[in-house]
């Protein structure tokens, strides 16, 4: 009920801002074509329907059970779909198809990298996380290490990852709303931010599993339809599709070769590392493993999630090439320069991030445009909600409770802090989303993965698998990874040159993961080895119990003398 109400409120807010901007559109300054009214209305209808279905399914699922029956947990398939839902963000859908649209083959590096992350999670992390029976990655790492330091580190890492990840979602949503409603980007981002704050602070306490499950199904369905329509056009022959794309694309045959997007090997390795290991450090994904009943279900859910995600990336690849063939020859899709020419890549209305949405319009007209936009928008809202919740809980449970508050705060105080944090995160996200307007969203998510792979992942892996890891080592090493990855991002070309406008980037590579991960692992090793403190002995002594627990799910300490 709450959700539908909120969303209708949000829809009204959007419609209102659309109205304002329509008045605004009367002024000649706006270059965008008048948005399709049909698409707009359909979009609003679809968004409301989507969210209604979500609420309905969540409720139905609940009322079927009686008191306590919920204790059993979520099934593997359900959790797999939910994980896929968390993972298939706007970045994947809009960003990867946009990258493929712009660079062809190299767009795949993201899909492949993100997919390869899953076996890593499955073999290294999933089962152990579930067996340890803790909630968040901070809880797991502080299983045997000193909680105050670890929680500080975890909270900082989580907040940074969430911030980068949110930027990508905000840019995606802002661009989508800008394109669809023809309102200025700033207003679009603000409207999305306001909606997200409303959702999380007021009604966002809705359980997210069902939101993600429904969203996964819708996104897979929508993307399948787009891809099938493209393939039908080419008689289900990928060869014909690629041939036609090569013919249309300004880069010609080179779009079928690596090197367009990531030039040098160091950048390629760095990006690859970030994408592969980052997933295992994403706070909102890691939390998905404690909702299942046992380690077996945890493994199973990763298997299903990998399947869904892999299938989805195949679709985005087809959609990207489809966009090349459908859009590039039609000037209606482009902002035409003064000389009547246009750049087939950069001048796409709404930017390359909107390739998939424009393709929907080209294939199915405003009806399908409205539908795909609504699906993409629902995707963003759901992912944003999950991220904001993870961020807010890092602030309230980790940072506030362990570090800031002088004495242990009451639980209702924590609720207040977490809501305030959600609002703050929302405002920051709007600001950053505005600043990073023209970055490719998949690229921004890549940066989030770099931070996750350099801070959260090393801390988690080393504390789980290396007996010698101590509090000091993990804290300093994790912090090194965090700081170096942020520094690498800020000093790198994307921020230093493109966003801040400097001429030359001090750090030449787009993705810092290679260096920051090495620093993190090296730091953890070095500072643990040299740690002779009393705490270090406690940390090492706790490893055996933790190891047994993480392998079997049965606490060695549970064999208390009765």
């Amino acid at each position: 009920m709450t959700l539908v109400r909120l969303l209708s409120a949000g829809a009204v807010a959007l419609a209102l801002s659309a109205g304002i901007s329509l008045a605004h559109a009367a002024e000649p300054a706006v270059a965008a074509p008048p948005p399709s009214r049909t698409a707009m209305i359909l979009f609003l209808i679809f968004v409301v329907i989507t969210l209604w279905i979500t609420t309905w399914a969540a409720r139905r699922n609940r009322s079927a059970a009686d008191f306590y029956a919920a204790g059993a947990g979520i099934s593997g398939t359900q959790n797999g779909l939910a994980i896929a839902g968390d993972y298939m963000s706007a970045a994947s859908f809009l960003g990867i198809s946009g990258l493929v649209f712009a660079s062809g083959y190299d767009g795949l590096i993201y899909s492949v990298g993100w997919l390869v992350g899953w076996p890593i999670i499955m073999f290294l992390i999933a089962e152990r996380l579930r067996n340890l029976g803790r909630y968040t990655f901070a809880d797991v790492v502080s299983f045997r290490l000193e909680p105050v330091e670890i929680r500080t580190l975890a909270a900082l890492g989580t907040l940074t990852v969430v911030a980068f990840y949110l930027i990508a979602q905000m840019v995606g949503a802002g661009k989508l709303i800008e394109l669809l409603f023809g309102i200025p980007y700033l207003y679009a981002v603000m409207a999305v931010g306001a909606l997200m704050i409303l959702y999380v602070a007021l009604g966002g306490m809705l359980a997210t599993t069902w939101v993600q499950i429904i969203k996964s199904c819708l996104l897979l369905g929508g993307a399948t339809f787009l891809a099938v329509m493209v393939l039908i056009h080419f008689g289900f022959s990928p060869e014909a599709l690629f041939a036609s794309a090569i013919a249309v694309h300004p880069d010609g045959t080179s779009i079928m070769m690596p090197g367009n997007l990531v030039g040098d090997p160091i950048s390629a390795v760095s990006l690859g590392l970030a994408l592969m290991f980052g997933a295992a450090g994403l706070p909102h994904i890691l939390m998905r493993f404690f909702t299942v009943a046992d380690a077996r279900t945890a493994r199973k859910s990763v298997l299903y999630a990998t399947g869904f995600i892999g299938y989805f990336y195949v679709l985005t690849f087809i959609i990207g090439f489809g966009a090349i063939t459908y859009l590039m020859n039609d000037p209606a899709n482009y902002r035409i320069g003064a000389d009547g020419t246009y750049n087939k890549v950069t001048d796409l209305i709404g930017g390359t991030n909107m390739a998939a949405v424009q393709l929907a319009n080209a294939i199915g007209g405003s009806f399908f445009l409205g539908f795909i936009s609504a699906v993409a928008f629902a995707t963003i809202v759901a992912v944003v909600a999950g991220l904001t919740l993870a961020g807010a809980s890092a602030v309230s449970h980790d940072l506030y409770t362990s570090v800031i508050a002088k004495e242990t705060p009451s639980e209702d105080r924590e609720v207040w802090v977490s809501k305030a944090a959600a609002v703050a995160i929302g405002i920051i996200a709007v600001f950053l989303g505005y600043v990073f307007e023209n970055e490719n969203v998949a690229y921004m998510v890549g940066l989030a993965f770099a931070v996750a792979a350099s801070c959260n992942f090393p801390a988690l892996l080393m504390s789980l698998l290396w007996r010698g890891a101590t509090t000091r080592g993990v804290f300093i090493g994790g912090l090194l990874g965090l700081v170096s990855s942020i520094a690498g991002v800020v000093l790198g070309p994307a921020v230093w040159v493109h966003t801040l406008g400097f001429a030359h980037a001090p750090f030449p590579y787009d993705n810092p993961a290679l260096f920051s991960m090495a620093l993190a692992f090296g730091g953890i090793w070095l500072f643990s080895k040299t740690d002779k403190s009393k705490r270090a002995q406690i940390d090492k002594a706790g490893f055996k119990a933790q190891f047994i627990r993480s392998e079997t799910g049965i606490g060695a300490s549970g064999a208390v003398a009765y």
Binding site: R62, G71, R130, M205, A207, L389, S410, R413, V415
Partner: protein
């Protein structure tokens, strides 16, 4: 001055004329300046105060709990039960009647109706919310039949019996009245008769009762109205009537029995239970425990008090059934426990039985099997509904030696099946009833130890609070219901009581709290800073309100025979004030749910 004392002011209207005179003679008047403490917190009071003029504030620390005005009485608790839980401070210039403690205690001992008021006055929160008194109560009682009263069976003795023997007979049969058979004639003799003849007329103890008994019997038919009985008593100026049925005398009804029908007299039940020698003899007590719930409620007792009295009585009953059914080795090794709402002391109208037994060491199989069967069968014969979750002594899972039971708990935690969380939750509410009390403590400490740090498990456990979300007592629901689109039925158990009880229980397990009742758990949580004092207070208030209206609908459900409606409240049947209260209480639940959700990360599910 003392004549101005209003004898109609409750509870004094329950006193007899003579007793009122006694009160008036003993009255004193006190004057208190504003801000003066009349009874300090934690102190015993030597008087019962009745406000004449002015205003008295009942304070807990700095918080004003309630304000008392003219005709209000305080403080029964510090008079009868020990130190005052709150302080009473004059809010303005105040005049009070002072009634000496000794006299009040004497009246309580003498006058059942007056005593019942004090019993129900234990928790004086009554003032903040007095349930709509059932004014039809007394009237409907008078319309009851004589056979509905728990009268004493007729005891016949021969007229040749001596006074001394009669006295012994009265004691043996626990009766104030004997029917005396003298050939064809039937007479009656009472304890008062005996006392008067011996003390005043100085008759020898060896005299036959023939000469002193009364052959002029005042009788009443067993199917007559109580109303008629009262008239007959007044008419004959007698305090007891002989009950006639089909030409024979079957029993004796006393005025106190009628009072019991109106006021309920839970203080009599423990004696009844104590005296029972066979399981069948407990049936009446089991029935009485249930019927006194409604009577206490009619008197205006708060639901907490009713629940407290009821669970105390139920536990005595359980203990007695245990004594009667347990074989020597079972009673030597056993510890009978009650769990769930019964354990938390929150059950009023019986909804189920959650009980079990732990043993210090294994007992012989055949004895155990017989006991399991007999015990549960005994309770069933009293009309205790069987537990739907099969949490009963009869179930071997719930009657085993402590070591096996601890292994059982371990397996519920390590390898949970669908009902493991439920079992853990119900067991954590266990209290020992009789036998080796320490076993429960041991099992619970072990369980808290095993659950420590099991955050994922606790969070799946806590998740049940989300099962029944979203009830609203707002305008929208009413409007939708009035046009038939939605229902205005609110399930109090699912949307009110359960989330509070279960959320608090989750915290209790997490923190290893020893308390069992939800209110005490809330207090403990507030004390350790896990919940703010404010939320703690609100929760306790909301829970009390839910229990109150649940009891209302339970009693209605029992009366109409629709047991499935037992926790349903219809919005359009509530007064505006009740609806407001319900809305506030539901809001508290919502706030608490958010706290639980945040602590246990339930938004991930």
């Amino acid at each position: 001055m003392a004549e101005a004392f209003d004898a109609q002011n409750p509870p004094f209207e329950r006193l007899s004329h003579d007793e009122i005179s006694q009160v008036r003679a003993a009255l004193d008047i006190g004057y208190f300046r504003p801000g003066e403490a009349i009874i300090a917190q934690g102190q015993r009071s030597e008087n019962l105060y009745v406000v004449i003029k002015g205003l008295v504030e009942e304070r807990d620390g700095d918080d004003i709990e309630s304000a008392l005005g003219p005709k209000d009485t305080f403080d029964a608790r510090s008079l009868v039960h020990g130190p005052a839980g709150a302080s009473f401070v004059a809010g303005e210039e105040t005049l009070c009647y002072l009634l000496p403690k000794a006299l009040v205690l004497e009246l309580i001992a003498k006058n059942t109706g007056f005593a019942a008021f004090f019993y129900s006055e234990i928790s004086r929160k009554l003032r903040s919310y007095t349930p709509g008194r059932d004014t039809g109560g007394v009237e409907s009682t008078l319309r009851a039949r004589v056979r509905d009263v728990r009268f004493r069976p007729a005891v016949f003795v021969d007229a040749s019996m001596t006074i001394k023997e009669a006295g012994h007979a009265m004691r043996e049969f626990n009766s104030n009245t004997l029917l005396v058979r003298d050939g064809e004639a039937i007479g009656v003799i009472t304890r008062t008769d005996l006392a008067e003849r011996v003390v005043i007329d100085e008759r020898p103890l060896s005299a036959a009762i023939r000469d002193i008994c009364n052959f002029d019997l005042a009788t009443i038919g067993i199917d007559d109205f109580i109303f008629d009985a009262v008239i007959a008593m007044t008419h004959h100026n007698k305090r007891r009537l002989i009950i006639e049925s089909a030409g024979t005398y079957v029993g004796v009804i006393e005025d106190i029995d009628i009072l019991g029908l109106v006021a309920g007299n839970p203080q009599l039940i423990p004696g009844q239970i104590e005296r029972a020698r066979k399981v069948e003899e407990l049936t009446a007590s089991a029935h009485d425990i249930q019927s006194q719930v409604e009577r206490l409620r009619r008197q205006g007792a708060r639901v907490e008090v009713i629940a407290e009295i009821t669970s105390d009585l139920n536990r005595r009953l359980f203990a007695k059934v245990f004594d009667l059914t347990a074989t020597p080795s079972v009673s030597e090794a056993g510890c009978l426990i009650v769990m769930g709402s019964e354990g938390r002391g929150e059950q009023t109208v019986r909804t189920d039985q959650d009980n079990g037994i732990l043993f210090t060491h294994p007992v012989p199989d055949d004895e155990l099997a017989a006991f399991r069967e007999n015990f549960t069968a005994a309770l069933e014969s009293f009309g205790f509904p069987a537990c739907p979750g099969n949490i009963m002594v009869r179930n071997p899972q719930w009657s085993q030696p402590i070591d096996d039971f601890l292994r059982q708990i371990k397996s519920w935690i390590v390898a949970p099946t669908d009902d493991s969380p439920m079992n853990l939750g119900i067991f954590y509410d266990a209290v020992p009833v009789t036998g080796h009390f320490e076993l429960v403590d041991r099992a619970k400490s072990a369980m808290a130890e095993m659950m420590r740090g099991e955050s994922a498990y606790l969070s799946r456990f806590a998740r049940a609070i989300d099962l029944f979300e979203g009830a609203s007592a707002g305008m929208f629901t009413s409007i939708m219901a009035s046009v038939g689109v939605a229902t205005d039925e609110i399930d109090i158990k699912k949307t009110g009581t359960f989330p509070i009880v279960h959320g608090v229980r989750t915290f209790a397990i997490d923190e290893g709290l020893k308390e069992t009742s939800t209110v005490h758990r809330i207090e403990a949580l507030a004390e350790s800073g896990i919940l703010s004092n404010e939320l703690g207070r609100d929760l306790a208030g909301a829970l009390s309100y839910f229990m109150e209206i649940r009891l209302q609908s339970q009693l209605r459900a029992v009366k109409t025979g629709k047991r499935e409606q037992e926790s349903i409240v219809r919005l359009n049947e509530l007064s505006t004030r009740d609806r407001d209260l319900l809305r506030d209480a539901l809001r508290v639940v919502k706030r608490f749910r958010e706290v639980v959700r945040s602590r246990y990360h339930l938004s991930m599910f």
